[in-house]
Amino acid sequence: MASKPVQTPKFIVRAVLVGAMAIALAVLPAFIDPYTLRIATGALMWAGLACAWNIVGGYAGYISFGHSAFFGIGAYTTATLMQSDVGASFFITLLPAIVLAIAVAVAIGGPTMRLRGAYFAIATWAFAEMLLQLVTVLDFTGGTAGLSLPAYLNEFFFYYTMLIAAAASFVGVWLLIEHSRFGFRIKALRDDEPAAESLGIRTNLVKVQSFALSAAITALFGSIYAYWTTYIDPHSVMGPEITDQMVVMVLLGGLGTVWGPALGAVLLWVTNRYIWSTFGDTVIYLPILGVIIALVVLFLPNGLISLLVGRQRGKELISSILSKL
């Protein structure tokens, strides 16, 4: 492992900030009502999902429109194994869920990631739609009626499970991608694939590894989500809206950054819940998401995080936005 020179003051500031955030998140449930706790749990889940999507979309530079498939694989594996005729306990179902997601990611990613990015985007999208159709016609998934899980009504349990899963995802990405050779390989292939290949990086292997890692994290959250909501149907865990949200959250926060996806996820999720509680439904949320994507692509391609990190860069961006208006 290449050791990096540690810039002491900046490093300490960051460590203090992250530590403070960890403590705040750990004690948060003691201070908020159950409804807010549910929103916080959801925010943690979406932060983790955005982090997972970012591995492929942000770091490897392959936009996947099929991540709802992995979320659904996780949810359906847990739900199927927890039915009374199998009766597995929750934590045991996580392993097959993750293994299945990795196997599927390798099967899909292996061939399609050799092609250009656009084909990968189409293939993942087609695959997700196919899987949605499949769970709708199969018997053991309950078809359109869906599946019920044994209810476990302990909001604290789910908050902390989501917190641990999200924290693990972020630490994993931070270690594996920001501070390892694997991370350099991923970024190298994103920035210039032929050049990376000529330097001896096995780009196909790295791409598939990153896709599998991303799929595994997505499936993990799918599993927890299924147990949390206690009832799943094809559209609630495999619908295109899940992928839509993941993509928008990462784009809004900042592609290929550690904290950008978390920022985008929390902002959008809280907005979503606010619209839901104010207007009673979230259909209006979809066109808003669409407008956000278009605006971010046009004016803020590096995401909101670019406004915070490096104030000079942020100022430049704001002035460039104003000059375009």
């Binding site: 656009a118 084909y119 695959f127 739609e129 928008v248 209006i284 979809l286 066109p287 391609p301």
Partner: protein, 290 residues
């Protein structure tokens, strides 16, 4: 045997409409190098426009299709410069940014339609609805036959424009090499914007035809985006000629699956075939180029 023939006819008739749905998409990819997720969105909005025109003004869809074409030609022409700007910007990955942009556009269309018109399906009535033509053992709904002919008319119009006009020559030059075309005096921005307009107009017109045959609701867009992707991938991205073969292939595939295996499996098999096609022939059956 009768059933086989009937399915063959149905497949060909739907295939013609799929050609019209995809041909503009291919042109956009060839010229702008943009994969447009919104293709199904344009078709859905075209269907709704025809629905409102027949419901409020009583204009038959086979006449209003020309209005729809003109309307979406202008909308697309207005949107074209934005797409062009994203695609030619100096971001790290302009191709993926353009993909994300059209994805946002599609989300906006789908979400906006859901918000305005909710999930209800609406059928577009025409004077030809419910009339049939009997040819020996097969019956052909007049509606489908006219929609097929109309789709061919639009596609033929595009080919004439591409190969028999100065504008078409500029478009083909752009598809071959954008920089060189620019050096030869082609106004790259303007031609690209008009190409996007023509694409939006053609796709919305295909959407009118689809809405008259089936019906339209805000979520059909996803289905038709995938159909367009299927045809485009099978034909080879950017290949306008390949669409003629691939569109018919998808029409026939869907018709035979619906007749012999079951309609609820048709989407599953169509998507599965698309996936396999991507693996086996990623460059398409006829290769690239306009």
């Amino acid at each position: 045997m009768d059933l086989f023939l009937q399915t063959l006819i149905n497949g060909i008739l739907i295939g013609g409409i799929l050609i019209c749905l995809t041909i503009g998409f291919q042109l956009t990819f060839g010229v702008l190098h943009v994969i447009d997720f919104a293709v199904g969105g344009w078709a859905m909005l075209g269907g709704y426009t025809a629905y409102w025109l027949v419901t409020l003004a009583g204009i038959d869809p086979f006449i209003s299709i020309f209005l729809v074409f003109a309307l979406f030609l202008l909308i697309g022409r207005g949107l074209g410069p934005l797409i062009y700007r994203v695609r030619t910007s100096r971001y790290a990955r302009p191709d993926l940014m353009a993909l994300a942009f059209t994805f946002g556009l599609f989300l906006f269309m789908r979400g906006g339609a859901l918000w305005l018109w909710s999930y209800n399906s609406r059928s577009v009535e025409s004077v030809l609805s419910g009339q049939f033509l009997s040819l020996g053992p097969v019956t052909i709904p007049l509606m489908r036959l006219s929609a097929f002919l109309m789709a061919l008319l639009f596609s033929l119009g595009l080919f004439i424009l591409l190969y028999r006009s100065r504008f078409g020559m500029a478009v083909r030059a752009l598809a071959q090499n954008r920089d060189h075309a620019g050096l030869m005096g082609v106004d790259v921005k303007r031609v690209s914007a008009w190409v996007y307009g023509i694409y939006a107009g053609l796709t919305a017109s295909a959407g009118v035809l689809i809405a008259t045959i089936y019906s339209v609701n805000p979520t059909v867009g996803i289905r038709y985006t995938l159909f367009a992707f299927f045809v485009a991938v099978l034909a080879g991205l950017g290949s306008v000629g390949g669409v003629l073969v691939a569109g018919l292939a998808l029409g026939l595939l869907e018709a035979y699956v619906a007749t012999y295996i079951g309609a609820r499996y048709s989407l599953l098999i169509v998507f599965g075939t698309l996936y396999l096609a991507l693996l086996v022939a990623p460059k398409g059956v006829l290769g690239r180029g306009i």
